[in-house]
Symmetry: C2
Subunit: 333 residues, 2 copies
């Protein structure tokens, strides 16, 4: 069964999720992206290859578990964490352990096997974001779950194992240190200035202009000041709101438009790169507040995390965010 | 010029080190590993292709800057940070910046173009570790530099751009957050228990045995309890010592032996994987103390940092460290 282990020195949780493998080095062999339309578990007609769906969008008359859907959410067949696990906490000498309680779901974004999220119409991307919202609201009912991450890995170098367009949700029984630090930083800024740090960033970027990629009535797309990797880009709603779940349909629509514009720009500028996309929102069941602000972060996968990054926690970025933003601004789609 | 930028929300420094490129997307093209013996800047006879050496091991009569050496240390041709930079700190609205003062050196580990560190005799690996020591002691004289990382990327997937066996040193004008957190964690443990957390870990692993890979009179090689990635392995000296620079020749010899044994085991078990190796030691010029303990960490590069890892700071590891350790223990070399 999966478990979460805490490092005895630093505040770091790791999910140990053993794959069923005869030999521990089987990991050498299971990285290839499956691009077989016949055997694709996300294609219409192959619904039985996944666990039963927890959400689907279907026209009237279409039966759950069969084809006809335009979007489908299913539990991951190889979950990193499981809802069926009984919650338990344990210490073993120096070492701490929590049972791997959590949820791991897959959002199949389209019935089309070919094509990527960038190829979808804005309405379909909005439907994906709305599915994230609905699943977050539903999973929040399990009080053992403390935080949730929606994310998307596109392309093998970004960690994808299936090519059919999909995103994922992982809900955790802890608020992991990476998220805690962001919450702490935002709270500290508010404590000092009585202002949201994300609203402040949006304000400065709109004045400075040089790291701005795209703006619309409701969304700002920017290269962050301390971009960790080349072409890291954030989508931040102009209106202050802590939790993604409480965003209106209009806001989701604007986010989908901005995301589509960004994906099409990076596809042209960087020749359809592999990428990671993820959502940062408040921990589950926590109220909206004045100091945290949901947003999306996108990182094209153009270089490896290497020895220096692992050693120091610093990253080396050869592309100044001002240059990345200027290049993306000029890219016509 | 390179610069270090601080994220306005979290305690994160990023090195922005622009490569000279006409277009920002030139990064798409410069990832191939150069394996051309003729044009290899680390091969004997090609000494002019690197900046002048700052350290070399040569037999009597051999001239600096020419061939004949067995090991050579040179400044990186494309440094992430530079010693010539004038120290300056700046705020731009919300954003903070330090000039990219630092050092970035390359240790050419052998004159042989073919072969890896695992192929070197233990005495040569010891000579590499001694070169790390000597360069750390020398760079510590520059009081602008606060911390230093010695590391090695082997293989393209691990971030290597040249195949000739080499390691690197980066000295920073800050103690980066990743290291600060480890120092803080070790200090907290000592504050609570009056014991070094690394000594405690070594003690528990020697009793538990299940995460032990290899042990010698002076070194313990183990899979850490909360291994972030498959086959992450640490080499920890049995004797408590905070800074690597103050290790004796006997200890370096033992570390080289343990490292060689580990590299040969992972080469057999994981079919010569790409890997990252790095040193964790005290910040520069800080005295030895009772609470921190230098060590080496090795991470074979078997899977990508993907969306969930970037989003949450948690990693998902499909290989329990107990299984990795048992597999490496059984691997004959």
């Amino acid at each position: 069964m999966p478990e979460m282990r805490k490092d005895p020195i630093v505040d770091r949780w790791v999910i140990i999720a053993p794959e069923r493998a005869e030999r521990p080095n089987a990991i050498l062999r299971n990285r290839a992206e499956v691009d077989d339309e016949q055997g694709c578990p996300f294609c219409p007609g192959n619904e039985r290859m996944t666990p039963p769906e927890v959400l689907s969008r279907r026209p009237p008359g279409s039966q759950p578990g069969g084809p006809g859907w335009t979007l489908r959410v299913v539990p991951n067949r190889y979950p990193a964490l499981r809802t069926e696990t009984v919650m338990s906490r344990e210490g073993r000498g120096l070492f701490d352990l929590i049972a791997g309680v959590g949820a791991h779901e897959v959002i199949v974004e389209t019935p089309e096997h070919r094509g990527t999220m960038a190829d979808l119409p804005a309405e379909q991307i909005e439907s994906v974001l709305r599915a994230w919202q609905e699943r977050i609201v539903d999973l929040a009912r399990d009080v053992r779950l403390k935080s949730i991450f929606a994310f998307k890995n596109q392309g093998v170098p970004a960690g994808a194992t299936l090519s059919h367009a999909h995103s994922q949700l992982i809900a955790l029984p802890v608020v992991p240190p990476g998220m805690q630090e962001e919450l702490r930083g935002a709270k500290r800024h508010f404590g000092e200035k009585e202002r949201c740090v994300f609203c402040d960033i949006v304000g400065q970027e709109l004045r400075d202009k040089e790291r701005l990629v795209h703006e619309s009535e409701r969304m700002v797309v920017l290269s962050p000041w301390a971009a960790r990797t080349p072409f890291e880009t954030w989508i931040v709603p102009r209106e202050h709101r802590s939790s993604f779940e409480s965003s209106s349909g209009q806001e989701l629509h604007a986010a989908a438009d901005a995301l589509r514009a960004l994906l099409r720009k990076i596809d042209v500028a960087l020749e359809k790169p592999a990428f990671n996309l993820y959502l940062h929102t408040m921990p589950l069941r926590e109220n909206n507040n004045d100091w945290y602000h949901w947003h999306l972060e996108l990182k094209p996968m153009l270089q490896q995390h290497a020895g220096f990054e692992w050693a120091s926690g610093c990253t080396i970025n050869p592309t100044p965010p001002e240059e990345a933003a200027a290049f993306l601004r000029q890219t016509e789609v």
